[in-house]
Symmetry: D2
Subunit: 239 residues, 4 copies
């Protein structure tokens, strides 16, 4: 019986800003509404440092939300590169991984199919197959066939004297795209904005769009001001 798994993203690490040191150096501090120890405050500090403008005379840019809204509108996204967010991701497919890896500004540490025993790997249902019994049956068939072949290849190659790593490396050839992968992924907030612009989009693959929605929800909690211009529904919905 195939063991299907749902996607999950866990915020694991983020940038901590030493607001007290920043204040000692420049006399500047973020507005009261914003977490002074977070990446949003750091992004504003970085923007202000370019102009050495530590005062806040204009009301519309005196809040962190206002300042970042203005700077993102002007396409100066580089200031949000200073803050990063790291997730531990489970329950996504190797197809998704292959798409995500195209984002060259992300840092990835991925479960190795060469080293890890995949004989009891879990599977990820493509969203189009959700609650679709006929298709679910076809996915089961492939999972079974792949599992039998995977175990068979590892067994035979190790019996012939090959070491386990090389045998698994060969046997992974039969694993389907829907095989679960897990990874640690880090991106700076500019990189995440780029990922979400492309994947939180109606034209994106259904699984990676779902993943983008999960990531966006976490990032909105971590750094709402940096993602204030992102829509609740995928890009392209209302066009």
């Amino acid at each position: 019986m195939t063991n299907f798994v749902e996607p999950a993203v866990h915020l694991l690490a983020w940038t901590r800003f030493d607001a007290a040191k920043a204040f000692n150096l420049t006399g500047w501090t973020v507005d009261d509404d914003t977490d002074p120890t977070g990446g949003q405050a750091l992004a504003e500090f970085a923007g202000r440092s370019c102009f050495q403008s530590w005062k806040k005379p204009r009301p519309e840019t005196s809040t962190n939300a206002g300042y970042l809204a203005n700077i993102l509108r002007q396409n100066h996204e580089s200031v949000v590169e200073h803050a990063t967010a790291t997730f531990y991701v489970t329950g996504v497919s190797r197809s998704l991984l292959t798409e995500l890896t195209r984002h060259r500004h992300l840092s990835l540490s991925v479960v190795s199919q060469r080293y890890v025993d995949e004989s009891d790997a879990r599977m990820v249902r493509p969203p189009a197959a959700d609650s679709n019994a006929l298709i679910g049956g076809l996915l089961d068939d492939v999972d079974s066939a792949a599992n039998i072949a995977y175990v068979g290849i590892v067994t035979r190659l190790t019996e012939q004297g090959m070491n386990r790593k090389q045998a698994r490396e060969a046997a992974r050839a039969v694993l389907p795209n829907m095989t679960e992968t897990r990874f640690v992924v880090t991106g700076n907030l500019r990189a995440w904005r780029d990922v979400l612009r492309r994947r939180w989009h109606v034209a994106a693959d259904a699984e990676i769009r779902r993943f983008a929605g999960l990531i966006l929800a976490e990032l909105r909690e971590l750094a709402p001001n940096v993602f204030q211009d992102f829509p609740a529904e995928p890009f392209g919905t209302g066009e």
Copy 2:
């Protein structure tokens, strides 16, 4: 009956250097042994421009091979970034693609499994399965099961009103890692050196090591002086 395919790399494009213009600008020309219109000559031009040293007083660096040997030994690999090589690659697996994509300095245009009909996709045997009849049979089994499911999923989803692209996107979930992919890949010669250092290596996956060997053979013909320090056998062989 599974249609297995062998890997092939086709050199499709490369950097052409306007040696006559370089001569007009600086009085410098590459030594007689080296193609004056190639990336090797451009790399030497770039190196010399840093020091505006257009004369060649020292015999050991008066040839292009000598000049590049010296500059690579000093870790000044950036000069070989100016030249690129582009390949059209066929007969490699999706596993290989996922590994290759980790090299973030490469530019890739890959056959899309979301758009293209994969019902008659060809398969790539892992090297460990070459001339291994028992394992070949297991690969056939998985190919058959995946094919039946792929066609079934596309048929059912389109019958239910889904468009063909979305149906294929869902159905690719069952395709195995050994499914053939094709791509256009471009790297500058520094990026290729990095790829080969890691993949033309005894510790690399067997399929990507075989691929690296094919790439290296092409690059040695295109720019022998840039790859003069690469071994004939994979790195790590003699250690």
Copy 3:
């Protein structure tokens, strides 16, 4: 008397596409209006390879200009990464270099102020000072003062036993931003599009905007279809 110099960009290298090999592999060839050996044709090949669509049924995308217009409009700029252009640039200032270096996708080989004798360096007038005699006089004064100090520092430090390279490294501290630099710069066409979008812009620094205009003129000749959506006047002019 200060030796002022004008900017010049020399197209030194570019991507050559083996159209005959592409035809042999796929049966595809670019339309008659387009240089079959250039980067534009390669970009179309790369785009078509993603969909394995080697036929040209739709008139609006049957030409290279039409195909690339369509693909750039859809934000699939990655296909133009496969083609590069390399320039030898002279007559630009160190200020410009510092700004250009921010474009991390460019590859640069720059005249080293640590190694090269700068006692007879040429100067680059900022565009605002063109035909402005009063300001020209001020630039001359700085050039003279810097030159005297540069020669003085090198002389004294070498007299005190320091080697020439270390002495020049210290002496360059006095060289002004307007000091000429020269460099070899390579970018793929996507990187150049990004540079031009930001620097061929009314909000850009005057010198780098002038430089961007020179680069754009060369790129329009090399790959008109890739830059067909770029304006004749800097971005922002008509807004």
Copy 4:
């Protein structure tokens, strides 16, 4: 009288790891000797996730120091990409900035010479000029001449109706390389390792080597296990 300034690097932000969440997800926790909330622990988590090896059977890799020593020795530096460090840097020259910008994996937010009034800019003495009265006098001369010209150009251009930003943009042409710059710089620990490998080196420019020493001292405190293989003296000293 020239206002000379000394370099300073201030650690402003770093990666905070949610060790409790990592433990809940995997049962793994870092050894007692290591800060469980820091980037070092995250790097080990990322490395272990690749192999899903959450137990620590081998004593030599059961500590964080041992684990990272082993992984760095094997050239798997990518796991330290997940942690970053951000500095606010003051008292360094524009020459240093130009060199540092070559490290394309760093994120920089730099004081803009186009926007900020540089008429009272501070200067950075090259290390070779320390306690060298003759050379100090030459630096003063250049500073005075540059300052007079800078103020003169801004005054005249604004009198002629140019706006202040454009006038400063033109006037910066006369500022010397030794002019102080300030910036916020972020790098992941792999990027910092690469910077230090090249700049904490006897062959590096004297000012950037001094800067590298300051950065290394901060990073050793933040993440000693990640920099355990770096020497106390610059690379190349003992060769």
